[in-house]
């Protein structure tokens, strides 16, 4: 699959998910863009021998940062973007294979895959958190600098 097709599909998927959550019209395209960027980061990293968990983590961080910036730019809550933005990163196939293994009575394999699913979900969660933390630190720095500047003037 060529990368532009993937970009288009992730954009479309995220956009549709935004619609499902009644995201305001003016934030729809930005929401789709967030998902596409997340997918792009994931696929730009993972071919270079990077662990899928770490790639997911970095992609989720990017999604979170993007949605924070967009929330300031468009003046809507950042949930609008981050909720749908993580959709292309959802570990659907690992979760599925884990269930399949359980159903087939292959418990050891099932537990391995379930753990992997949990790790991937945790990576998404941690990435989102890291994005929020980075952003709040940055915002704090900006506020402090603005305060200093105001004093010196």
């Amino acid at each position: 699959m060529s990368w532009w097709l993937g970009l288009l599909l992730s954009f479309l998927s995220t956009l549709a998910y935004c619609t499902l959550f009644n995201v305001p019209v003016r934030a729809l395209l930005a929401g789709g863009l967030t998902g596409a960027i997340g997918w792009l980061v994931y696929n730009a990293i993972s071919p270079y021998g990077m662990n899928a968990t770490i790639a997911t983590f970095l992609a989720a961080t990017t999604v979170s940062l993007c949605s924070q910036f967009l929330s300031i730019y468009l003046r809507v809550p950042s949930t609008n973007f981050s909720v749908a933005g993580i959709i292309p990163l959802v570990p659907g196939s690992v979760a599925y294979r884990s269930m399949l293994a359980f159903v087939e009575g292959n418990y050891l394999n099932g537990i391995t895959l379930a753990t992997q699913t949990c790790l991937l979900a945790g990576a998404i969660a941690a990435g989102l958190m890291l994005g929020i933390s980075i952003f709040s630190v940055w915002k704090g720095l900006v506020a402090r600098n603005a305060g200093k500047r105001a004093k010196t003037n």
């Binding site: 499902l20 959550f21 934030a27 809550p77 949930t79 909720v83 599925y96 159903v103």
Partner: protein, 243 residues
Amino acid sequence: MDTCLLAGEIILKNGGETYRAEETMALIARAAGMDNVNSFVTPTCLIMSYRCMDKDYTRMIRTPSRTIDLHKVTLVNDVSRKFVSGKMTLAQAYRKLQEIDRKKPIYPWWLQNLAAGIASGAFIVLIGATWFDILPTVFAGIIVNVSVYYLEAYLRVKIFTEFLAAFLGGMVVFLLYRLFPHLHLDLMIIGTMLPLFPGIAVTNSLRDLMAGDLMAGVSRGVEAVLTALSVAAATAIILSMAR
């Protein structure tokens, strides 16, 4: 008081974060000139108290049903910002909030269902399905979304609703797979379950935890886990049929 509680209720009911509801309520009350403002919000109830002219006021409301409508959250956010900055009077804000509360979703019903289908279809191609798999998955995704909507009115138990919806969607995919064996059952099932993915619950639970609302964060996290479990159970049943 009514304005604060209504604002908080709308945010909470429509999938806003807990800390956003708390903050909005406190900001409105403070802007209206109340002292000692405190608000406490969990996913199922809102408590608010303040002091005005040496008298204490406290009120609490429950939020029985929760849906997801981020547009309303955004609108309430705008109203509170306008009120706090003084561009709106209290009466105006209250009227505006009531208007928001009555609003219907901005996207028509069929478009939302179609969107669920498209989300499913686009997602499975993303993880490697062929173009033939799209149509059944779009169909099944729509079925899942429609059945969640209808079953919720009858069942009242959210976990069971999601389980049944996932099961129905899975059955559709499974039957189509039996008719056309060259489709990919695995990818189609993954795509079908996508509209049930608890995205809001996961994101909000994290943001609540980050904001220090431990109780709200944990309870939303549990909500997400329950949804995931019910979907997993439905998938397991479908798979054991497919063997």
